[in-house]
C-alpha cells in the first residue's frame, strides 16, 4: 500500500508565536535573538517581514540591527515555544496517532490509515493548516509525499503558508533542478565532495552511478543516492524523540585556550555529561570530542570504550586520548564539546575486582547529591579554581 506522509513546518516559528500572542506585532519585522549583551547573541528566527529586509537566521545581532533598525528584537522565551509546539502536536494527533516530532517546529505524520476518516492527504493537509491557523494563530507549510524524505523536501518548496505535493512522478520536475545542497542529508562538506564529482543538482546525483558513490562515501553514499531518487523507507516513529541517543555538553570559550587549559575544560564538561547520563539512568559506550578554533575549523573524533560507563573519569580519560591523538598542542581552541553516545538504559553494571571503580562511583554519586541539593557549583574540582578555567561552570 502506498504510504501518505505529511511534514508540517511552522513558518518562522518563534517569531510567529510572538505575533500570535501580541496582535500589535503582526505585519511587523519581529526578530527573536539571543541576548544582545553577550557575544554569542545571534538571530534565531526572523518573521517574514524581517526576512524581506535581509535578516537571516544565524546573523549577529549587531548586523541585524544595522540592516533593520526598525526591527522589534525579542529575547527567546522557550517555554512559550514548547507550549505552542505541544499544542500543534495535539492537533496533529487528532488526525493520526503516528506523529513524529522532528524538531520544535516540524513534525512528520503518517496519514495512510486516516484517509477514510478525513479524506485524501491533501484534504487532511488543508484541514490541518486551517485548524492550526484558527486555533493557534500561526501558519505552516505542509509537504505531502509517499515517504518522509519527499514530504520534507516538498514542505521546503513553498514558504510561507504552502502546501506542496511531491510524488515519484513530479519529483524530476520539482526536486531534480535544485542544487544538491538542498537535499536532506547533504551538508557543506558533502556538497564540496559532490561538486568534485561534477554533481551540482539533485538530478545530477540521482543519475550518478550508485556503485561509485558507495565506493567513495560508503553506505552513506548509497543513502544519498536513494534520497536523490526519492527512495526512503524509514517509518514515522512517534517515540523517536523520547529515545536519547547521546548526551553532550559544549561551550564556546571567552578566549583562545591551549594545552592543559583545554584539559580542564574537558574535565568540567565530562562532569556535566556524566551527571546527566546518570540522572537519566543510562550507560554509554562512545565518547566524542569536538573542538573548534577561531576560524571555525572544526574537529570531531569519537572513540568506543571497552565497557559502557556513566563515570566522568572514563569520559574524560577517553576525551584526553582523543585530544592527544588528533589536536596539536600549539593549536588554540575556541569551542569544546564532549558527548557520550551509544546510550542504553541500565540499572546494573558488572563489578570489577581490582582498581578504584567502586570508589570513583561513590565520589561521583556523592557529588551528584551535593549538586542536587545545593546547586551546580556547590562542589567542583580544585583544578577549576585556576584562573580562566572555571568561568563557564558558573554561567552554564
Amino acid at each position: 500500500m502506498n504510504r501518505a506522509i505529511l511534514l508540517a513546518d511552522m513558518n518562522s516559528f518563534f517569531a510567529s508565536v510572538h505575533q500570535a500572542l501580541d496582535p500589535e506585532l503582526q505585519g511587523k519585522p519581529v526578530i527573536v535573538a539571543g541576548d544582545p549583551e553577550k557575544r554569542h547573541g545571534i538571530v534565531l528566527t526572523a518573521s517574514y517581514e524581517a526576512k524581506k529586509r535581509g535578516i537571516r537566521t544565524g546573523m549577529g545581532v549587531w548586523e541585524a540591527r544595522h540592516r533593520c533598525p526598525e526591527g522589534i528584537f525579542i529575547k527567546p522565551q522557550y517555554h512559550l515555544y514548547v507550549d505552542f509546539s505541544s499544542r500543534v502536536l495535539q492537533i496533529m494527533g487528532d488526525f493520526t496517532p503516528l506523529v513524529e516530532p522532528f524538531s520544535i517546529d516540524e513534525a512528520f505524520m503518517d496519514v495512510t490509515g486516516s484517509q477514510k476518516l478525513f479524506g485524501s492527504p491533501v484534504e487532511i493537509a488543508k484541514k490541518l493548516k486551517e485548524r492550526i491557523r484558527r486555533e493557534i494563530g500561526i501558519t505552516c507549510s505542509i509537504g505531502v509525499g509517499p515517504n518522509k524524505l519527499l514530504a520534507k523536501m516538498a514542505a521546503g518548496l513553498q514558504k510561507p503558508d504552502g502546501l506542496t505535493v511531491m510524488t515519484h512522478e513530479n519529483m524530476p520536475q520539482l526536486l531534480w533542478p535544485l542544487p544538491v545542497r538542498e537535499l536532506f542529508g547533504v551538508g557543506h562538506r558533502y556538497e564540496q565532495h559532490l561538486h568534485k564529482l561534477n554533481i551540482y543538482t539533485i538530478g545530477d546525483l540521482a543519475k550518478y552511478p550508485a556503485a561509485i558513490l558507495k565506493k567513495k562515501f560508503g553506505l552513506y553514499g548509497e543513502t544519498l543516492w536513494l534520497s536523490a531518487n526519492g527512495i526512503d523507507s524509514s517509518p514515522v516513529d512517534p517515540d523517536s524523540l523520547n529515545r536519547v541517543k547521546s548526551i553532550g555538553q559544549q561551550i564556546t570559550l571567552p578566549r583562545d585556550y591551549k594545552g592543559n587549559e583545554i584539559k580542564v575544560v574537558i574535565l568540567e564538561l565530562a562532569d556535566l555529561v556524566a551527571h546527566r547520563v546518570r540522572a537519566g539512568g543510562y550507560l554509554g559506550k562512545t565518547v566524542s570530542l569536538t573542538l573548534k578554533d577561531t576560524n571555525f575549523c572544526c574537529l570531531s573524533r569519537m572513540q568506543t570504550l571497552k565497557r559502557p560507563t556513566n563515570l566522568a573519569a572514563d569520559i574524560s580519560a577517553a576525551a584526553f586520548e582523543l585530544l592527544q591523538k588528533h589536536w596539536s598542542p600549539r593549536w588554540p581552541v575556541r569551542m569544546v564539546g564532549v558527548s557520550l553516545a551509544n546510550l542504553f538504559p541500565s540499572q546494573l553494571e558488572q563489578a570489577e575486582l581490582f582498581g578504584n571503580r567502586e570508589k570513583l562511583r561513590g565520589i561521583e554519586k556523592a557529588c551528584d547529591q551535593v549538586r542536587e541539593r545545593y546547586g551546580r557549583t556547590a562542589v567542583f574540582r580544585a583544578i577549576s579554581l585556576k584562573e580562566g578555567c572555571l568561568e563557564h561552570v558558573r554561567y552554564l
Partner: protein, 371 residues
C-alpha cells in the same frame, strides 16, 4: 632433503602449527613452516615471534635437509592427499618442495631455511616437571577466568607462584578470579611467572596425558617440552594484580548444591538476554534452604527455578551475576557437589573445591546497581 612420513601424523601436526601463524604480518616468512629432516625425524616449526611451536614426527629420512614452506597451503594440501604415506623431497637447485603421492605430485615454493627467524635458546636456569594430565587439569581450571583479549595484557595470562610448600596458579580478567593451589615438590621457591594464556591453551592441546612435561624458564622466556613437541613463549612482563586481597576471608553464607542442577538452571537462565544488554543476568536468592535462580529479559520473558540445598543453612542472600560467569566455572569443577560462598549483595561469590592436596577457588564479582 627426502623423507617418507605418515599422512595423518603430518596433517595433525600442521593443523596445530597453523594455529599460531599470525593472521597479518609484514614478515612473509612467518607464514612459513620450517621443516627439518634429521635422524629419522621430521621437525616442523612455526612462530609468530611471541610463541614458537615445534612438533616432531617420526619419518623415514632418506636425505637430510631443511626448508621453509607456506604452512597453510601445505596443511590444506596434505589433508586432502590420498593414501597413507607422503613423500616430501626438496633440492637446492629448484627450491621447490615436491609432494609425491602415488603417481601424482605437487610442488610448493619455498624459502631458504637460513632465513627463518632463529629460535631462541632453550632456557636452562630453572625447570620443573609435571605429568601432562595433571598440568592440563590445573591450567584448564584457572584459564577459565583469564581474559581472552590480548589488549588487556595484565589479565591475559596465568600467574604461577612457587611458594614454600605450594605452587599457586591464578588468572583473572578483572571480573572473576580463579586460583588453584597444589603441593610444591619441585624444590623451587620464591619464584613467579606470568605465562600468556594463549601459550598455555596451545600446550594443553599438544600435551598427552601420560607424557612428562618439562617446563623450563629464564627471565623472559618459558619453554614447555615433551617427547614430541616444544613450545616456547615470551613471559608477560607486567604486574599481575594483587589478587589475595580481593578474596573474602570469612564468607557470609556458604551453600552446597548439586552441580548438574545448578549448571542446567544457569544454562537456561543465560538465554534470557535483554536486547539492550550484552549478557544475561541471573539473580540468585537463598532463603529457607532453597536456591532460587531468576532471570528476565525485557520484551522476551522470564525464568524462575528452585534448587534444593544439599545441607541446611542459616541466613538469606540475594545477589545478581552475569549468568555466563557463574556457569563457566561449573564446567571445570570435578566434584558433583558444589560449594558456593556468598559475600553480601555487592561482594563476590566464590566456588570452592578442596581435595586431598589441592584447593581451588573461583571468584565471580556480581553486577551492581549503577545509580
Amino acid at each position: 632433503m627426502k623423507i617418507i612420513c605418515q599422512k595423518n601424523e603430518l596433517a595433525a601436526a600442521l593443523t596445530s602449527l597453523c594455529r599460531i601463524i599470525p593472521n597479518r604480518t609484514n614478515l612473509p616468512i612467518l607464514n612459513g613452516c620450517l621443516c627439518e629432516a634429521r635422524e629419522q625425524t621430521l621437525t616442523l616449526q612455526c612462530t609468530d615471534l611471541e610463541i614458537t611451536m615445534k612438533i616432531i614426527i617420526s619419518a623415514q629420512v632418506e636425505e637430510e635437509g631443511s626448508t621453509v614452506v607456506l604452512a597453510r597451503y601445505l596443511s590444506d594440501l596434505v589433508k586432502k592427499l590420498p593414501g597413507e604415506e607422503v613423500v616430501l623431497s626438496w633440492s637446492e637447485e629448484d627450491s621447490l618442495l615436491d609432494i609425491n603421492y602415488g603417481a601424482s605430485s605437487s610442488k610448493l615454493h619455498t624459502w631458504r631455511a637460513d632465513d627463518f627467524p632463529p629460535s631462541r635458546e632453550k632456557p636452562t636456569e630453572r625447570k620443573v616437571y609435571f605429568q601432562g594430565g595433571l598440568w592440563k587439569r590445573i591450567t584448564r581450571k584457572v584459564l577459565s577466568a583469564a581474559a581472552q583479549q590480548e589488549a588487556r595484557i595484565n589479565y591475559a595470562g596465568v600467574y604461577m607462584q612457587f611458594l614454600e610448600d605450594s605452587i599457586k596458579l591464578a588468572a583473572t580478567d578483572a571480573y572473576r578470579l580463579a586460583v588453584i593451589k597444589i603441593p610444591n615438590n619441585s624444590g623451587i621457591k620464591d619464584c613467579d611467572l606470568f605465562i600468556p594464556a594463549n601459550a598455555l591453551i596451545e600446550v594443553n592441546r599438544l600435551a598427552a596425558d601420560g607424557d612428562e612435561l618439562e617446563i623450563a624458564w629464564n627471565e623472559g622466556l618459558i619453554c614447555f617440552s615433551s617427547q614430541n613437541f616444544m613450545l616456547s613463549s615470551r613471559l608477560i612482563n607486567s604486574q599481575f594484580p594483587n589478587y589475595e586481597k580481593v578474596i573474602p576471608e570469612q564468607p557470609e553464607l556458604t551453600i552446597e548444591v548439586d552441580k548438574n542442577s545448578l549448571q542446567t538452571a544457569l544454562e537456561r537462565a543465560s538465554l534470557f538476554i535483554s536486547p539492550d544488554e550484552h549478557y544475561a543476568i541471573a539473580s540468585l536468592q537463598i532463603d529457607n534452604n532453597l536456591l532460587t535462580v531468576k532471570a528476565h529479559a525485557v520484551d522476551v520473558g522470564s525464568l524462575r527455578e528452585e534448587i534444593a540445598l544439599l545441607s541446611p543453612v542459616e541466613g538469606e542472600c540475594n545477589v545478581e551475576f552475569n549468568a555466563k560467569y557463574l556457569l563457566e566455572p561449573l564446567q571445570v569443577l570435578d566434584q558433583e557437589k558444589v560449594t558456593l560462598c556468598f559475600n553480601g549483595e555487592r561482594g563476590p561469590a566464590v566456588y570452592r573445591e578442596e581435595s586431598e592436596d589441592e584447593s581451588y577457588l573461583h571468584l565471580v564479582s556480581p553486577v551492581c546497581p549503577v545509580g
